[in-house]
C-alpha cells in the first residue's frame, strides 16, 4: 500500500519536472554582484536578455566571490547546474572545465567572431583551455586604482596627492585631522589585493610577473620585494583604524570623507557613482597608484554549465551573444565602472576615471592578474598571510616576507 503511494509520489515529481522543463526558457544566472552599483549593472544584462524573449532568473549570492563561488561550484559538481554563472576568468573554473562540466562555446565564438572583437586578446586566452573557448568575458576589471577623497584632503589642508609616495607623506596630516588615512576592509582578499597592487606599482610590472608568473621564490625573498613590503608596512600603519569589513563599507568611508583613500579595483567606481559623486571633483583616481600606469586585465566572465535540456541550451547561446552585444556592453560597463571587452564600442558617456582606464588600455599597457596566474589555493594562503599582516602590527616585515617567499615557492 505504502509502497504504491511512494511510487505515485515519485511519478508525480518526475512529471512535474518534465512539465517545468518543457515550458522553460527561463535561465538561472548566478553571480555575486550585490552592492548598489553592481546590482544596477547586472540589471542591464537581465533587461537585455529578457528582451530576447527569454527570462533571466536572477540568482544573486550575497557576500562577495569568496562566499558565492563555493556555492556555485557545489551546485555544478552536485548535479544541479544553473543556466550560467559568473566567475573571474582565469583559473577559478579550470578544474570544472577539465572535468567536462562546462559547455564548449567555440562554435558560438567562431560565429560571433569573438577573436576579432574581444580586446585585449589575453581575455579570451583566459577563457581558452586546450584550444576551446569556455567562457564569455563581460568586462575588464583592474585592481590597480587608488581612490582619494578630495574633501578629506581639503579638510586636512594638504593637496590631493598625485602618487603613492605623496600619499604616504600626507598621512600624518590626515591623521591629525581625525581622518583614517587609508581604508582597508577586514575581508582577507582586500589586504591581499592591496599588496598585489603595491607589488605591481612599487615593484613594477617585471617584479610582479617574476613573483606570480615565474614563481621565483628567491626573487620574492630579495631586496626588490622587500621594498614592496616596506610600502605594505606603510599601508598597514595608515589603515590601522579601519573598523569595517566589506569593501563597499570601506569605499563608503572614502565617499563620506572619513577616510583619505582606498586601494581598490575599479568596481569601487560604481559606488561613487551611486552616491552621486563626480570624478575629478569629489574624488580622484590614480591608476597604478600613480607610479606605474598599467592596468590588469582581470575581470568577470560567464561560464555555461553543460545542460541536457535542449531549450535551455539554446537560451544559453542567446545569453552568450547578448552578453557580448555592443549595446549591452556599454550599458553594463557604464553602471559597473569597468571597461568593456570590445574595442569597437562607443563610450562617450564614460567619466574621467574610465577614460583614464580606456587610454591605458588603448596604449596596450596591460598585464595579467593573480586570478589568471595563481591557483585558488595559493590565493587563499596569500590572503591568510596578508590579513594577518594587516591586522597584527607586531608582525615584522622580514617575517612576512619570508612567509611570502615560501608561499611563492610552493605555488601552483
Amino acid at each position: 500500500m505504502r509502497y504504491k503511494v511512494l511510487t505515485a509520489a515519485f511519478a508525480a515529481t518526475v512529471a512535474l519536472n518534465f512539465a517545468g522543463q518543457a515550458s522553460a526558457t527561463d535561465l538561472e544566472v548566478t553571480h555575486w554582484w550585490t552592492s548598489g552599483g553592481e546590482a544596477a549593472a547586472v540589471a542591464e544584462f537581465a533587461k537585455a536578455f529578457d528582451a530576447t524573449g527569454n527570462r533571466w532568473v536572477d540568482g544573486a549570492i550575497a557576500g562577495s566571490g569568496g562566499t558565492a563561488r563555493p556555492i556555485m561550484i557545489s551546485r555544478i559538481t552536485g548535479g544541479d547546474p544553473m543556466g550560467a554563472t559568473q566567475f573571474n576568468h582565469g583559473r577559478q573554473a579550470e578544474e570544472l572545465v577539465q572535468a567536462g562540466l562546462m559547455r564548449d562555446l567555440t562554435d558560438i565564438a567562431t560565429k560571433g567572431k569573438w577573436t576579432e572583437v574581444v580586446r585585449p586578446k589575453s581575455l579570451l586566452d583566459s577563457c581558452t583551455i586546450d584550444g576551446k573557448i569556455y567562457c564569455v568575458p563581460v568586462n575588464i576589471h583592474s585592481w590597480q586604482w587608488l581612490w582619494l577623497s578630495n574633501a578629506a584632503f581639503e579638510k586636512a589642508g594638504v593637496p590631493v596627492p598625485k602618487n603613492w609616495n605623496e600619499y604616504v607623506a600626507a598621512a600624518p596630516a590626515l591623521e591629525k585631522a581625525g581622518i583614517i588615512p587609508l581604508a582597508v576592509g577586514g575581508q582577507p582578499w582586500q589586504s591581499s589585493g592591496a599588496f598585489d597592487v603595491l607589488l605591481a606599482a612599487v615593484g613594477g610590472t617585471d617584479a610582479f610577473l617574476k613573483v606570480y608568473k615565474d614563481k621565483d621564490a628567491t626573487f620574492a625573498a630579495g631586496p626588490e620585494v622587500a621594498k614592496v613590503f616596506k610600502a605594505a608596512d606603510d599601508a598597514r600603519k595608515m589603515a590601522k583604524n579601519t573598523n569595517v569589513q566589506d569593501w563597499n563599507q570601506a569605499t563608503n568611508l572614502v565617499i563620506t570623507g572619513k577616510a583619505g583613500g582606498q586601494i581598490m579595483g575599479d568596481w569601487a567606481q560604481g559606488e561613487f557613482q551611486v552616491a552621486g559623486q563626480t570624478a575629478g571633483k569629489d574624488y580622484t583616481c590614480l591608476p597604478g597608484l600613480g607610479l606605474n600606469e598599467v592596468i590588469a586585465t582581470g575581470g568577470d566572465a560567464f561560464y555555461f554549465p553543460l545542460l541536457k535540456d535542449a531549450d535551455k541550451a539554446k537560451a544559453q547561446e542567446v545569453l552568450a551573444e547578448t552578453l557580448l552585444d555592443p549595446k549591452t556592453q556599454v550599458a553594463f560597463n557604464l553602471k559597473k565602472g569597468s571597461l568593456p571587452v570590445r574595442g569597437d564600442v562607443d563610450l562617450q558617456a564614460a567619466n574621467d576615471c574610465m577614460k583614464k582606464g580606456l587610454d591605458i588600455l588603448a596604449k596596450g599597457s596591460v598585464m595579467p592578474w593573480t586570478d589568471q596566474l595563481l591557483s585558488q589555493d595559493t590565493q587563499k594562503q596569500k590572503e591568510d598571510l596578508f590579513s594577518e599582516f594587516f591586522a597584527k602590527p607586531d608582525m615584522t616585515i622580514e617575517d612576512a616576507q619570508k612567509r611570502f617567499a615560501d608561499i611563492v615557492g610552493s605555488a601552483d
Partner: protein, 297 residues
C-alpha cells in the same frame, strides 16, 4: 544447555532487528564510510574534485607548518577550556541557586534558558554589536561618564577569542543549568535531611555528596559541551569571520575555507582528519574507562 535451544539467537526479536537495518546502514555508509573516504583522500593531492593521486603525508606536513592552523588549534584550546570550565561552574551554581525553592523559579529558568533558543549566528551578530566599540558596551559606559573606559575585544587580536567565548557562554550556559537542575531534582530529599541532621554545611553537602551522585548528569553535560567546542564555526563566522587578521580562526573554519574557497580538498580533508583524531584522543580513553571497565566488575 543443549545447542538446540539457542539456534534462533540471531532471529530473536527479528522485527526490531529488521527495523534497525536502515539506521545501521546509514551509520555504516554515511558515518563510517564517509569518515574512511575522507581519511583516504587526505593522502591525495585532490584539488577542486577528488582524485586518487597519493602524495603520502604532504598535506599533513603543510598543515602543521601553516601558521593559520596553529592559531586555530590554540584558539580551540583556549575556547574549549573556557567554555568547559565556565559553563559547568556557572551552570551548576545557577542551578543550585534555583534549587533553593525560590519564588518565580519558572520565570528565572525561562530567562536563563532563553538564549539557547537562538542560533549561534544570531548570538554572534548580537554580540558583535554589543562588543562593537562604536555602539556597544564601551559606548554606553563612556556615555555614563567613564570617558577612558575601554572594552573592545573583537578588534584586538590578542583577546578576540575571549570575546567569542563570552558569547558562547551566554548562549550555552542556560542549557547546562537546566541539565544540572534536572540532576539536582533527581537527588532524594532524604539525603539532604540526613546531611542536615549530621550538621554538614551546605557547600560541603554539594561538593562531596550531591556532585558525586550526579555523575551521569555530568557525563551527559560533558559530552554535549565537548561536541559543541570541537565543531564551533558559525559563532566565529557571525562574530568576527576569523578576524582581525587570522586571530580568531578555528579548525572547522580552516577545513571549510580550504575545501571550498581554496579549492584544495586534500588540505581540507587532512585538517578534518586531524579534528577527528583529536576527538578520538579524548573519547577513546573515556569510552574505555566507562564501558570497558564495567564488564570486569
Amino acid at each position: 544447555m543443549s545447542k538446540s535451544e539457542r539456534p534462533n539467537q540471531l532471529f530473536r526479536n527479528l522485527n526490531a532487528k529488521v527495523a534497525s537495518i536502515p539506521m545501521i546502514l546509514t551509520a555504516l555508509v554515511v558515518f563510517v564510510g564517509g569518515t574512511a573516504w575522507t581519511v583516504l583522500y587526505s593522502f591525495t593531492n585532490s584539488k577542486l574534485l577528488p582524485r586518487l593521486n597519493f602524495i603520502g603525508l604532504d598535506q599533513y606536513y603543510r598543515l602543521w607548518s601553516t601558521p593559520r592552523w596553529l592559531v586555530s588549534i590554540e584558539n580551540l584550546l583556549i575556547y574549549g577550556v573556557l567554555s568547559l570550565v565556565f559553563s559547568l561552574v556557572i551552570g551548576f551554581i545557577l542551578a543550585a541557586l534555583l534549587d533553593q525553592k525560590i519564588r518565580f523559579e519558572d520565570t528565572f529558568r525561562t530567562i536563563f534558558l532563553y538564549p539557547f533558543a537562538l542560533s549561534f549566528i544570531v548570538t554572534g551578530l548580537v554580540w558583535q554589536w554589543l562588543l562593537n566599540p562604536d555602539f556597544g558596551i564601551q559606548r554606553v559606559v563612556r556615555e555614563l561618564g567613564w570617558e577612558s573606559f575601554s572594552f573592545n575585544p573583537l578588534y584586538d587580536s590578542s583577546i578576540v577569542i575571549y570575546g567569542i567565548s563570552i558569547a558562547a557562554l551566554w548562549q550555552g550556559t542556560g542549557l547546562i543549568m537546566c541539565l544540572m537542575l534536572a540532576g539536582l531534582r533527581g537527588i532524594d530529599e532524604d539525603i539532604w535531611k540526613a546531611a542536615r541532621v549530621d550538621g554538614i554545611p551546605m557547600w560541603k553537602t554539594y561538593l562531596f555528596i550531591i556532585i558525586p551522585m550526579m555523575r551521569p548528569v555530568f557525563i551527559t553535560t560533558l559530552v554535549i559541551i565537548a561536541s559543541g567546542i570541537v565543531k564551533v564555526y558559525d559563532l566565529v563566522v557571525a562574530q568576527t569571520s576569523g578576524g582581525p587578521g587570522i586571530a580568531s580562526e578555528v579548525p572547522a573554519k580552516y577545513v571549510y575555507d580550504y575545501m571550498f574557497f581554496a579549492q584544495n580538498l586534500g588540505q581540507g580533508f587532512a585538517a578534518s582528519t586531524m579534528m577527528l583524531l583529536s576527538v578520538m584522543i579524548v573519547i577513546v580513553p573515556w569510552a574505555y574507562l566507562e564501558f570497558g571497565g564495567r564488564k570486569r566488575v
